[in-house]
Subunit: 234 residues, 2 copies
Amino acid sequence: MRPITAIGFDADDTLWQNEQYYRLTERHFQKLLGDFGDGADISARLLEAEKRNLGYYGFGIKGFTLSMIETAIEVTDGNVPSRTIGEILDIGRELLRHPVEALPHVEETLRSLNGHYLLVLITKGDLFDQERKLAQSGLGDFFDAVEIVSDKTATTYRRIFQKLADGPERAMMVGNSLKSDIVPAIAAGSWGVYVPHALTWVLEHVDAPTEAPRFRKIENLGELQRVLTEVMAV
Amino acid sequence: MRPITAIGFDADDTLWQNEQYYRLTERHFQKLLGDFGDGADISARLLEAEKRNLGYYGFGIKGFTLSMIETAIEVTDGNVPSRTIGEILDIGRELLRHPVEALPHVEETLRSLNGHYLLVLITKGDLFDQERKLAQSGLGDFFDAVEIVSDKTATTYRRIFQKLADGPERAMMVGNSLKSDIVPAIAAGSWGVYVPHALTWVLEHVDAPTEAPRFRKIENLGELQRVLTEVMAV
């Protein structure tokens, strides 16, 4: 029996750049409000708004835009010009059409695994936006299934790998977020392969489960085949 | 061979009230801008913004809120007070927590069909919001699968009924939107059962395909069993 038959991949900052576009938008947002406070303070207020709104908006750019608008009202004590609100709407829409470019080694890795493992894209965020990015990435054909979910917990991984594959124990999850991709996948009984990205949203930070026997860390997706060879030989 | 083995159900205004909460929010929005135009004009401008933004935001409350903010800036020629923008954010969040109440005959119908057909909830809108409503409705256990999609086309129905059931020809779709639920399902080769709702969003209006042999119309979900009995006897 093959120890692993399915591999799940996170999308944002695992397959393509994402966070860097959020950071650029946030810097633009800081500048728009430059008269009302320094950048670090504005970003801190924005993060507070995002946390507060997570239970309403979930993850994604539309909720981020709404939180920017709320923050603009707050930091200006209600004196934000409506022109600035209009500009926030504009930078939110720009973020919704940022270019999608596969990270190094992604395409060749997916191509070589395709047909040998069941490949599942597992991502959270706005449904509509994630579908756009997958279409533009040109990577869609490598995946046997796409799961866009509202949150990533152990239950999420258990459900997906049970439904589509041979259960979580024979599955591996690959991603750049310890909190969303690795820790819950390992809790579900799967392997978790951590591919760090230089930029990761602060709300995704947790400690690496370095003691877990099914935890691995690689530098880029080009090293995934090596991990698979090792694990498959166990 | 049973002619039908799977039934898809739309959610908003088919299983529970939805549009009425949008209408209430829109009336509230009209009042907030009462100094800058009459209600009908404000709603017309809002609809224009929604259409224009559909390609960016898709369907759902977060995009609706962003379009309300944009419209507020527009109809006031950039003079909307930021207090009003804050109130628009508030009514958008209120809409995101509107109560979820099953429409008449929904629960008993789903209960009686459960186990006899593969039941699939097929809905569009914000992923996070649709999951909340399904959880609050208490109807989740009646469904074998839930598909939250960004748009509903013939391809959508073909893909879903192929993947989960015995193909579109042996499936039936039930919903209140001719444009999203009925016409594309029939185009995919499925049966389409139209359950009109008094309130349906203007962008969902198209003519009923009354000539199509697989089109049926019922007054409420309590009549679905009768249609099934008729179709199953063919």
